[in-house]
């Protein structure tokens, strides 16, 4: 054989950096994305702070006149009851983030296993799962969410009565797993024929083990990217659902603030609209940019 490669046999002594560490290094190089990541983390901290009662627990207190304009003390003015719009904006982080978080979690929890199972086993199981998601994806998302939200509202789950916002978590989660499922299924079909799967099969790993220990870790980056972008969609969905009267009740969320502000705007009380829009804008922008950077860092296909 004459073909001898000039690709040198260089002893690569450098320690194998993990894929994730590599991705992190690539991600870290993007200054803008890092700033945005910090913003996302800040939102999360604020959300956790609110949920645990450290932040904005006093949002119900009146701090001034009804509809006082923004001032030094009340950066975004006050609402109809003289409550600080700024505090409401902070408090709203909790609802919006938890809606997005739990709905994402639910959609991952359904979409990933179903997609993996369909892609791995193929055959009848695949046919059924594909039929299921073809069906669900043909129903307009908003209508499906609404129908679910109506149907779930007031229902009892594990002895816990579902209120409006929980119904929204569930409705969003139960309807949005389709895209992820399709994505994972496609990836798993690709991975199924890779050597490492054959190898795992050869040493007698169980199917469940192959799917969850071997295949899924190899598609985790896709799940993460999907998660970051889906999150934004959920935050915006909360606004529309609030407009349609399906949002949070009794506590402020950004969607509820915008819906309230709808009636205040023409009166010149713009601050509640501004505060909620700003809050949504901030997290959407940050997540979109972080999501893009994640994709660049994690998905070798798009990487240049």
């Amino acid at each position: 054989m004459t073909a001898i490669s000039a690709e040198p046999v260089v002893s690569t002594a450098s320690a194998g950096r993990s894929l994730w560490y590599d991705a992190w290094l690539r991600f870290r190089r993007k200054k803008l994305a890092m700033v945005m990541l910090v913003i996302v983390v800040l939102y999360v901290i604020v959300g956790i702070g609110v949920a645990s009662g450290w932040l904005a627990a006093d949002w119900q207190d009146s701090v001034g006149e009804s509809y006082a304009p923004p001032s030094w003390d009340t950066p975004f003015g006050t609402d109809i009851f003289g409550q600080s719009v700024f505090r409401k904006m902070i408090y709203g982080t909790k609802i919006s983030l938890s809606v997005a978080f739990f709905a994402s979690l639910l959609s991952i929890g359904i979409g990933v296993p179903l997609g993996a199972i369909a892609g791995y086993f193929r055959g009848y199981i695949d046919e059924i799962i594909v039929w299921l998601y073809s069906t669900l994806s043909s129903i307009p998302g908003l209508l499906l969410i609404l129908a679910f939200a109506y149907a779930l509202k007031g229902a009892t789950l594990f002895g816990y009565k579902l209120d409006g916002i929980t119904a929204v978590y569930l409705a969003l989660g139960l309807t949005s797993w389709v895209g992820l499922c399709r994505l994972i299924r496609g990836e798993v079909i690709k991975h199924k024929n890779r050597d490492y799967v054959t190898a795992a099969n050869a040493y007698g790993a169980s199917k469940a083990r192959i799917i969850f220990r071997h295949v899924i870790p190899n598609v985790t980056h896709l799940i993460l990217i999907d998660f970051s972008l889906r999150f934004v969609a959920f935050i915006h969905a909360e606004v529309i659902l609030s407009f349609l009267g399906l949002g949070a009740k009794g506590e402020p969320s950004w969607g509820v603030m915008i819906d309230d502000a709808r009636l205040e705007l023409s009166r010149g009380y713009w601050w509640q609209m501004a505060a909620a829009t700003l809050a949504i804008f901030g997290i959407s922008l940050a997540l979109n940019i972080v999501g893009d950077a994640l994709r660049d860092a994690l998905d070798p296909k798009i990487r240049e």
Binding site: I4, S5, V10, K30
Partner: protein, 363 residues
């Protein structure tokens, strides 16, 4: 045969942005101080590992480096093959100064290029007939039917059976070897003066590889075409080419005739590279690596010093040190090195070597 090179690359440097760890933009020279020349009907092999700058050098000839992000930092690419409507054959012009319009007159016409990946380099949504005639119609005043005839001829030249019926097929309907032949046919359809062949055989199996190379050789002989062959396959180099340029980390390390390079390698990297070649019939515990063989020859010409090989692709001051240049350290043998203190007057030399193997000379 002409004694002026048809193309000369002089001191070419091309840079790309690389964000460093701090995230700041920094430019990195993918090639630097590259000097090469090719004579008509000659085959120059550029060898080196991936990322050594072979493809960047070749693509620069046709200004195919996307700018941005890439940027031509310095250098000239002197072309003497003539430019339609601009210069006569024999007059040297710098291709890097060409605007897109003038460049298009050269691309695919005087200079054609074959790319490495036949799978992806053909447009999947057009038939191969469409794609070959596209090149013909762009550069020749012919009718579509004539272009079709030219395409058929080109296909049959590259050894494709029933070329007329193949014209209507889509790339995905062909095998890898066939696709590479189509690429070559496309490149040759306009009878270029210079063919840039970027690893034309890498993706193919050995027998096809041999056929293709033989085909190229044959066409070259018939049409007096110069070939710049990019490869990392030393076997191909040993059997098919006239002159060899070894590249590493964006620089040309050694330039000489194929026989000089194989019999008397001078640069430590070239030596290491050749020693890591397995030899038929000799048993070894393990193959030596480039580093194992990268020694400085004891008889390195007096008056010059050469730096030992480093695996650091981006050493401070550039590969081989800031003062390294190509010097003609022995007759018709250029090496990237520095003159010693007592040889201060030595001038870096542009490599020019009109050497051709016997088989070629015999034509």
């Amino acid at each position: 045969m002409s004694d002026t090179p048809i193309i000369e690359i002089e001191d070419l440097a091309v840079s790309f942005p690389v964000p460093d760890a701090a995230g700041r933009g920094r430019r990195f020279n993918a090639v630097q101080g590259v000097n090469l020349s090719v004579y008509p009907a000659q085959t120059l092999a550029v060898v080196g590992e991936s990322g050594s700058g072979k493809s960047v050098s070749a693509m620069s000839v046709l200004q195919l480096i996307p700018t941005p992000p890439g940027k031509y930092e310095s250098g000239k690419i002197v072309w003497r093959g003539g430019v339609p409507g601009h210069t006569q054959e024999g007059t040297g012009v710098d291709l890097l100064t060409f605007d897109d319009k003038r460049m298009r007159a050269v691309r695919g016409n005087q200079i054609a290029m074959i790319f490495q990946e036949p799978m992806t380099s053909l447009n999947p949504v057009y038939t191969i007939g469409d794609q070959i005639t596209e090149a013909v119609l762009l550069h020749q005043q012919v009718t579509r039917a004539e272009a079709n005839q030219i395409a058929i001829a080109a296909l049959s030249d590259v050894g494709i059976a029933a070329p007329a019926s193949r014209l209507k097929e889509y790339p995905h309907q062909l095998s890898g070897g066939m696709r590479q032949r189509v690429m070559i046919a496309m490149a040759l359809a306009c009878q270029p003066t210079l063919l840039l062949a970027d690893e034309p055989t890498t993706a193919l199996d050995v027998t096809i590889q041999a056929q293709i190379l033989e085909l190229l050789r044959k066409l070259q002989n018939e049409k007096q075409m110069a070939v710049l062959l990019i490869t990392h396959d030393l076997g191909v180099v040993a059997e098919n080419v006239d002159t060899v340029a070894v590249m590493y980390a964006g620089r040309v390390l050694e330039y000489a005739s194929v026989f000089d390079v194989f019999q008397n390698p001078m640069h430590p990297y070239t030596r290491g590279l050749l020693k890591s070649m397995p030899v038929l019939g000799r048993e070894v515990d393990r193959l030596p690596t480039v580093m194992d063989g990268a020694t400085i020859p004891e008889d390195f010409p007096a008056g010059f010093t050469v730096h030992p090989h480093t695996v650091d692709r981006n050493p401070p001051g550039g590969y081989g040190g800031p003062n390294s240049h190509l010097y003609e350290v022995a007759p018709n043998h250029w090496v990237l090195c520095e003159p010693t203190a007592e040889n201060k007057d030595a001038k870096p030399a542009h490599p020019r070597l009109a050497f051709r193997r016997d088989a070629v000379a015999a034509v």
